[in-house]
């Protein structure tokens, strides 16, 4: 709770600092505030106050996911210097919105009550609608904002209808009470409950852009300012999956009723994401589709809901968002600044800036799931626990999908290392940018070498 209050105060402080023209100190203040929130969240004892009414529960998974969210947001903030030219006048507004959105994310991964789940999702989404449209004169950004807004609000309607039906069937919003009701009724829960849970899952899968509810994602990722895209494809995705796994592991005894739903969802999401990504010319769109594909792999862990699902999704999300940060960082530094978006803009990067090229290659390999990177263990744990619980078919499909994904990741690597670059613009990359790229790569390999240490968090 104290972390959320710290972040709220930080958000308002940032807005006021911007107004009173202290724009120089904005970034240090934000990073300091995020550090404080990180420490407060990490040292939270997890005791539930009676006054909290079980609204927010900071148990071990919530703390781990929350710290991950804050860490990745700090990484996104470190990428902002040099990439916010479109918003020099109202930079503090975008920063403030990003912090408010992060608060929503933390609520989404620590909710103990359907009210806080709903409020968390909305606190996450509403600032995002504005952030996506923050490139005000650019029609593409406007269009992305409108699409995201309409579909997001539409999904909210379904989510709410689901919550209403669950409430009608069980008479409570509290997760413990709902689970108890399920246990005592033993299968005699009214059919409203199942419809409600299904609608709620549909609402959540809109937010994590799982196929067939993914149509907004590529357009929105493409149209949004790249720094916002980075935020969306990392923090929003982690928060969405945190909420989803918390919901499915929330103590409902027979969630396997919805096995069909999550099964189809996972397979469609992986396959559509990977196959469409191979066809993309623009890097931003390719990364968007690849993020849809990654959502598909994480849905496998949701589908074979075991006790390990939480930690598996955590490791996968960690690995994916580290790699994603690096890729978007590199993309912003060498292509996006010059309004380039094609894969060709990566040509010959290894000659110009070999270290950055190696980092990008490691990130891509991690996304593809090649060993000694974190991404490998992310996939490994998810597949292993799926096989443990006898879900062979879905694992085979996922393996085939990984092979397909290798194709378009390798395409980028080949462009970087074996093609001659045509543009000889000498890139000046800010120091913080380097810090994010190298730091994330180092962390990525560190997790790849010692994956078991992450398990301790749970």
């Amino acid at each position: 709770m104290s972390a959320i209050i710290t972040l709220s105060v930080l958000g308002i402080l940032v807005l006021y600092l911007g107004i009173f023209n202290f724009k120089k100190v904005l970034l240090p203040v934000i990073l300091l505030g995020l550090t404080v929130a990180f420490v407060l969240l990490a040292t939270n004892t997890g005791n539930v106050l009676a006054a909290d009414m079980h609204m927010l529960v900071f148990d071990a998974p919530a703390r781990a996911f929350g710290c991950l969210l804050i860490l990745i947001t700090a990484g996104v903030f470190c990428l902002t210097p040099g990439n916010m030219e479109y918003a020099t006048k109202f930079r503090q507004d975008v920063f403030g919105l990003m912090i408010f959105s992060l608060i929503g994310g933390i609520m989404m991964i620590s909710y103990g009550n359907l009210i806080t789940l709903f409020l968390g999702i909305e606190t996450l989404s509403i600032p995002l609608y504005v952030m996506v449209g923050s490139k005000r004169s650019d029609l593409k950004s406007n269009e992305a904002a409108m699409k995201y807004f309409l579909l997001g609000a539409f999904a909210t309607g379904f989510l709410l209808l689901g919550i209403a039906l669950i409430y009608g069937a069980t008479g409570s919003f509290d997760f413990r009470v709902i689970a108890e009701q399920c246990l005592t009724l033993q299968g005699n829960v009214s059919s409203w409950f199942e419809i409600g849970v299904l609608l709620l899952l549909i609402g959540l899968s809109f937010k994590v852009s799982a196929a067939p509810f993914h149509f907004w994602a590529p357009d929105v990722y493409d149209g949004a300012p790249t720094i916002v895209t980075t935020y969306m494809s990392t923090v929003v995705k982690i928060a969405g999956f945190g909420a989803l796994v918390r919901f499915t592991r929330g103590g409902f005894p027979d969630m396997h009723v919805f096995g069909q739903f999550t099964f189809i969802l996972a397979i469609l999401t992986m396959t559509i994401g990977n196959f469409v990504a191979t066809q993309q010319k623009s890097i931003k769109r390719m990364l968007a589709y690849s993020s849809i594909a990654h959502a598909g792999y994480m849905l496998i862990a949701i589908h074979c809901s075991t006790n390990a699902s939480l930690v598996n999704i955590f490791i996968y999300a960690f690995a994916y968002s580290l790699a994603s940060l690096v890729m978007f960082g590199v993309f912003m530094a060498i292509a996006d600044k010059y309004e380039l978006a094609d894969i060709d803009s990566f040509n010959g990067l290894s000659k110009k800036n070999p270290l950055v090229a190696i980092c990008a290659a490691i990130a891509l390999l991690s996304m593809a799931g090649i060993p000694i990177t974190a991404g490998f263990f992310g996939k490994y744990y998810i597949f292993a626990s799926a096989i443990d619980s006898n879900y062979f078919l879905i694992v085979i499909i996922a393996m085939l999908n990984s092979l397909v994904s290798l194709y378009y990741y390798l395409k980028l690597i080949i462009a970087m290392f074996f093609k001659e670059g045509s543009n000889d613009v000498s890139e000046k990359i800010p120091a913080l940018h380097y810090f994010v790229i190298f730091g994330c790569t180092a962390l990525n390999i560190l997790i790849g070498l010692y994956p078991n240490n992450l398990m301790m968090l749970f």
Partner: protein, 109 residues
Amino acid sequence: MFDFLEKSSNIPIEYYMWLSGILFSIGVMGVLMRRNVIIMLMSIELMLNAVNLLFIAFATFLNDPKGQVFVFFIMLVAAAEVTVGLAILTLIYRNTKSVDIDFLKKLKG
């Protein structure tokens, strides 16, 4: 004094569910079929209000005030959402001079 009103709870809960289900479906169809963004926004509001009605009906049915409190949250969030939506719409109107959804097809691929 209010015993007449209490008698009205003889109406079974299913009727309320049908009503809000129909309203919700009208909202959904509005979002899917209309091309004018303002009308789509109104349809989304209709969806949310159908859910509000359902919450109130359940709260009365279960004799539990929590459902009514949730409606407050929904109303607040709906207001915030519509504010943001209209702001984005003004932005688009400034750039294209139209509120028709068909103008939004720059992003493809």
